[in-house]
Symmetry: C2
Subunit: 332 residues, 2 copies
């Protein structure tokens, strides 16, 4: 079953390939008679014509594909929540409305920057969405390809052509969390976070939390975990219990749930004796034996925004920030 080409249609319609291409691509072209246009459309339909996108890509130098690059640590994390799946669905959804397809690529630990760049180059991508923290030289390398890049949840500060940032109001979220805990009467607060360096999302959540606490004249304790996972939260619960604090802000929901299960197991009553608040509002935070108070962010929207900014030259080097809000449930 050979596929129909423009030539087939042209022959059948008794016109040139140029004409067929024009009619098919430029919906409101006026230079052809309505009759001729209808006839060509009819034949295309009849012959079941579909553009060969590879051919189109070759001549236009544009593949109509974007790629979502997921850093290696992501595979360990998806275990924790379908969070990034939502992000991807947002990306895919928006991309589709723009006639773009999305390739998904999990970066392997064994993959070198060069290999990745070679790959990206060969695909003539329309854009790249990078999720989370990623090798800086990779960003710089990708940037040399001269195609738009959207960095989601990434706090590097490249003020470059083609580079866009999509973030959450992490700092504000941290403040909301601190204020809520204080409002609920908790007095000795701690924050559980992963290693904090300036370029991490958790750092900004921590900064907001700290500011609000200090403003109120309180002190905060800092607890560093390796990764913000259920297991880490659970395992650290004994330490937290013995610290003499009565409230905790965890930089991810799954960490908060682990902590809360651990504390409960140690006989700590939540929310009576101890308040817990998370961040993200993953579905599990609601669907849990004790629904979790958390900071909500719209991750699907983040995905959509990422695709949007790709074509927006105005936003080169600048950050788009998605808003957050507090969702009070039963752990505070």
């Amino acid at each position: 079953m050979k596929r129909t080409t423009l030539k087939d249609i042209a022959i059948r319609a008794g016109v040139s390939i140029t004409t067929v291409s024009n009619v098919l691509n430029k919906k409101n072209i006026t230079s052809y008679s309505e009759d001729k246009k209808q006839e060509i459309l009819r034949i295309a339909e009849e012959l079941n014509y579909e553009t060969n996108l590879a051919a189109k890509a070759l001549v236009t130098q544009q593949s109509n594909m974007i790629v979502v690059l997921l850093p290696p640590y992501m595979l360990g994390w998806i275990q924790e929540s379908p969070f990034y799946f939502y992000l991807i669905s947002g990306i895919e959804n928006k991309a589709n409305t723009m006639g773009l397809d999305v390739i998904i690529k999990f970066i392997k630990f064994s993959e070198t920057v060069e290999e990745l760049l070679a790959w990206a180059k060969s695909r003539c991508l329309h854009g790249i969405v990078v999720v989370g923290e990623i090798n800086k030289s990779l960003i710089l390398g990708l940037n040399k390809l001269d195609i738009p890049i959207a960095l989601v949840d990434n706090y590097t500060q490249f003020k470059l052509k083609n580079i866009h940032y999509i973030n959450t109001m992490d700092e504000y979220g941290g403040m909301l969390a601190a204020r809520h805990l204080m409002e609920q009467g908790y007095k000795r607060l701690c924050i559980l976070t992963s290693n904090i360096t300036e370029e991490k999302v958790d750092y900004h959540r921590y900064q907001g939390f700290k500011k609000a606490i200090r403003q109120a004249g309180y002190e905060e304790s800092l607890v560093i975990v390796n990764t913000t996972t259920y297991q880490e939260g659970y395992d650290i619960s004994y330490e937290v219990k013995t610290m003499g604090v009565d409230g905790a802000f965890c930089t991810s929901d799954i960490l908060a749930i682990g902590l809360m299960d651990g504390l409960t197991n140690l006989g700590v009553k939540i929310p009576e004796d101890f308040g817990v608040i998370g961040f993200d509002n993953i579905s599990r935070s609601k669907e849990n034996w004790l629904p979790l108070t958390t900071i909500n962010q719209d991750v699907i929207k983040k995905g959509e925004l990422a695709v949007d900014t790709l074509n927006n030259e105005q936003s080169w080097g600048s950050q788009v920030k998605v808003s957050v809000n507090l969702i009070k449930r039963q752990t505070t």
Copy 2:
């Protein structure tokens, strides 16, 4: 920055494009002198050459891309677990080792079969992986494209060229669940499942469960839920409690966890008074306030197998079945 082409290399090396193409593509071609080969490779490297995959696709009629098609109901489900994200990572991982890229596509409710077929046709796909239940006419339509299709967790029975099935040993898993419940001393068992029709995964889990129960001379009760979600499990718990049963097999882990939280909330003691077993072994079943006994399946492997079978003409129309095993935790 114009990209390097074969022509650029050919000129620099003083050979023909054909020669360059041959050297670059056929690693162990012998017809050229080692010196010349090295020289061409060196120049390619120096000029930072990368194949233009669009051009290659055009001439070979093959894009080196596969697509993962996710049915519309999937978006509601991912909420429940990162289960399908794992599947995709398995697919992506295997595909990458074969030099294939994977496009991800969430089918929208508003999308017609025709639109989908038109899209698939235009992309010159190397293969299609379909996840879950999907419109039969879509399968048939895709099949007309004459490219390999792997159906994962799909129980239709098309014995056609290019059609492959990847399933789990669902029936056997159901049997394991029933036997385990009985061994643990539970006597009046029920199964919670979504609507059971022959072409659904849950149907087969139910069949296995029923068989084992009947073999043992017991009777089973059947509880139908709309979707196998946490909320449904939680909401049905009162009904289950009043049914006079002392054990339940839920066809998904998340449903089991919902049921168990609901029952616990009603004062039912698990596992003392009531046993619960799930299916899938999602990460949450382990990382839970009360770890869930469940039937484990290797979903990453399923993804890898799906890609594998794509190129295997032997398996047209036949089913590959991934094994399962019981994981005893604290709910039985």
